[in-house]
């Protein structure tokens, strides 16, 4: 098995989850509070990776982060290394690709917080940001856990976007999902099977753990 690929995937998924938790909370809070009409546009853009083919998203990112784009040029001038076909490029791509998996559970959780508690916080003189930190987030723990787990798991399993933006460079951008594809391409079915079982078990354990955590309050509906 390609342990380099496993290590890289875990590193990428951890970094993506960290970035998403810091970035998605204010975004989800803004979406939950906003009264502006064009909020739906932002919501739709955030959800795009759910329906867009990963190759399409990957293609646009490749163009947007490449040396031909202002972003790519600025990055390589500042840091001395390009964005595409590197870990940092993968990180940007993964964050955008997993954004809906972080934002949507958070928004659902935020919406479930009793609005009276938010109003009580404002009346006691706290700003919206302080209210989110001290009231909304502590009461949205299931949403936070779900967001983190889904972001992590989704990044581990991602294939198309990573392949488009990162290519397939062993030890640098070859993630675990790509290594399965590689093994099959070279007719090494035994390695592909071992890696696949590992991914299958990992995904199952993660999902069971998440649902178990969120179900601690008992069933959602009573039995008639």
């Amino acid at each position: 098995m390609d342990w380099d690929a496993v290590a890289l995937s875990v590193r990428l998924a951890s970094a993506t989850t960290l970035v998403l938790l810091v970035g998605a909370v204010p975004l989800a809070a803004w979406l939950a509070f906003s009264r502006r009409r064009w909020t739906v546009l932002v919501e739709a853009v955030v959800a795009l990776p759910l329906v867009l083919p990963p190759t399409v998203l990957g293609f646009y990112l490749l163009v947007a982060l490449g040396e031909g784009s202002p972003v790519g040029r600025w990055w390589s001038e500042t840091t001395g290394s390009p964005l595409v076909f590197t870990f940092n490029g993968l990180l940007v791509a993964s964050v955008l690709h997993s954004l809906p998996f972080a934002v949507q559970p958070l928004m659902a959780s935020f919406a479930g917080v009793d609005r009276r508690l938010l109003e009580a916080s404002w009346i006691l003189g706290r700003s919206q940001a302080a209210t989110v930190l001290r009231v909304v987030l502590p009461l949205s723990r299931p949403g936070l856990v779900t967001a983190a787990v889904l972001s992590f798991a989704h990044t581990i399993g991602e294939f198309g976007v990573v392949l488009m933006v990162g290519g397939n460079i062993p030890g640098r951008t070859r993630t675990v999902a790509i290594s399965v594809y590689d093994s099959v391409q070279s007719f090494d079915y035994a390695t592909a099977a071992r890696t696949s079982v590992l991914l299958l078990l990992f995904s199952l354990v993660v999902l069971v753990a998440t649902y178990a955590l969120n179900r601690r309050g008992g069933p959602a509906w009573p039995r008639p």
Binding site: E119, S121, I123, G125, S127
Partner: protein, 359 residues
């Protein structure tokens, strides 16, 4: 001149022009009316939680909170708000809840103010407790402490006792009145409960269908409804203030302006304590001087001052040393020969006298 809260709101059902004096020695204004009258909406507009449709104007003591589309954020208004279901933060303990609004203070002062607020609300013993195990009454007191801890300029209470069961409610009423009176914070309190209005309020504003129909001292509004709508909303009730003279055998003797009334003992009264004696106008019977005394009931001599027809009934205004209102049928008015100036006796069964302790 006392500071005032003035409102002009045309928002949803509300169509209100109102100016309320805010006095420290008579701090509680009760906003009374049937459900759907717009009471909570009015409270939320004052708090800044709802944005009233323009043209709207909310001014507290010369400070403009709302004018047209311009609106001061709720968090900058310096108010206290007690929600119907108390809205305590469930993930925080009692102390953290009360200290929540005390930002920018040194830790020692925060702690001192929290303890003081809990003591003022009469729940010092709840310090250190979690919020989850609190009873409804305790939660209400903690929420009150949280609202008072920030020393608000105006306290808004939305049906403060409605989330509690009936026996708890009666017990907490007197305590709530004591807390509000001793804090002296100008208070606007919403209720649809007559006993609550009488027990807690200094002034009463009657809101029906989004409009203010009458405002004035509580007793006056209850005893002298200005319009049929008010009479329907509050029920015409004679509210007499008096002092407990004696208690015996489950009955209380209450001294009122021109005599004494006997009423069932509601409990919790002390001799010499202030009470309000309430008698519905329907429960006041009239008889002429000629009739003999029959049973040991409450009876006072009175002079008819006015007779106002109200549907099938006639409202008889009396002067018995204190103002008194009675309802009689047209037939009995003829039989009794009532005209303004008639001398009569007003009779009230003891059971029809409802006492509300009033600190």
């Amino acid at each position: 001149m006392a500071p005032t809260l003035s409102l002009r709101l045309r928002h949803q059902v509300l169509d209100v022009d109102l100016s309320l004096p805010l006095e420290a020695d008579a701090p509680v204004t009760v906003l009374f009316g049937p459900s759907g009258a717009g009471k909570t909406t009015l409270l939320r507009c004052v708090a800044g939680l709802d944005a009233p449709a323009p043209p709207a104007r909310v001014v507290l003591d010369g400070e403009v909170w709302n004018e047209g589309r311009r609106r001061v954020n709720a968090r900058r208004r310096g108010i206290g708000y007690l929600f119907q279901d108390h809205a305590l933060f469930p993930h925080m303990g009692v102390d953290a809840n009360v200290a929540y609004g005390l930002t920018g203070l040194p830790r020692a002062e925060r702690r001192a103010r929290t303890a003081q607020a809990l003591a003022d609300a009469g729940v010092a013993h709840l310090a250190g407790r979690a919020t989850r195990g609190l009873s409804g009454g305790e939660a209400q007191r903690v929420a009150l402490a949280r609202a008072l801890a920030v020393r608000p300029r105006l306290l808004l209470l939305d049906e403060p006792l409605s989330a509690l069961d009936a026996p708890t409610r009666t017990g907490l009423r007197a305590g709530l009145r004591a807390v509000l009176a001793s804090s002296g914070t100008p208070t606007l309190l919403v209720t649809h409960d007559r006993a609550e209005a009488l027990a807690l309020g200094d002034r009463l504003v009657v809101l029906v269908d989004g409009r203010v129909h009458q405002q004035g001292p509580v007793q006056e509004v209850f005893s002298r409804p200005a319009t049929p709508e008010v009479a329907r909303a509050v029920g015409t009730e004679n509210v007499l203030s008096g002092r407990v003279e004696s208690r015996a055998g489950g009955l209380v003797r209450v001294g009122v302006a021109a005599g004494a009334l006997v009423a069932p003992d509601p409990g919790g009264l002390v001799p010499g304590g202030r009470v309000l004696a309430c008698v519905r106008a329907e429960d006041v019977a009239l008889e002429t001087e000629a009739a003999r005394a029959a049973s040991p009931r409450n009876r006072v001599a009175a002079t008819v001052t006015a007779i106002v027809p109200e549907g099938p009934l006639e409202r008889v205004e009396l002067d018995a040393g204190f103002p008194l209102t009675a309802y009689v049928t047209r037939t009995s008015r003829h039989e009794l020969g009532l005209v303004p100036g008639s001398r009569v006796r007003a009779v009230v069964k003891a059971a029809a006298v409802h006492l509300i302790p009033r600190t």
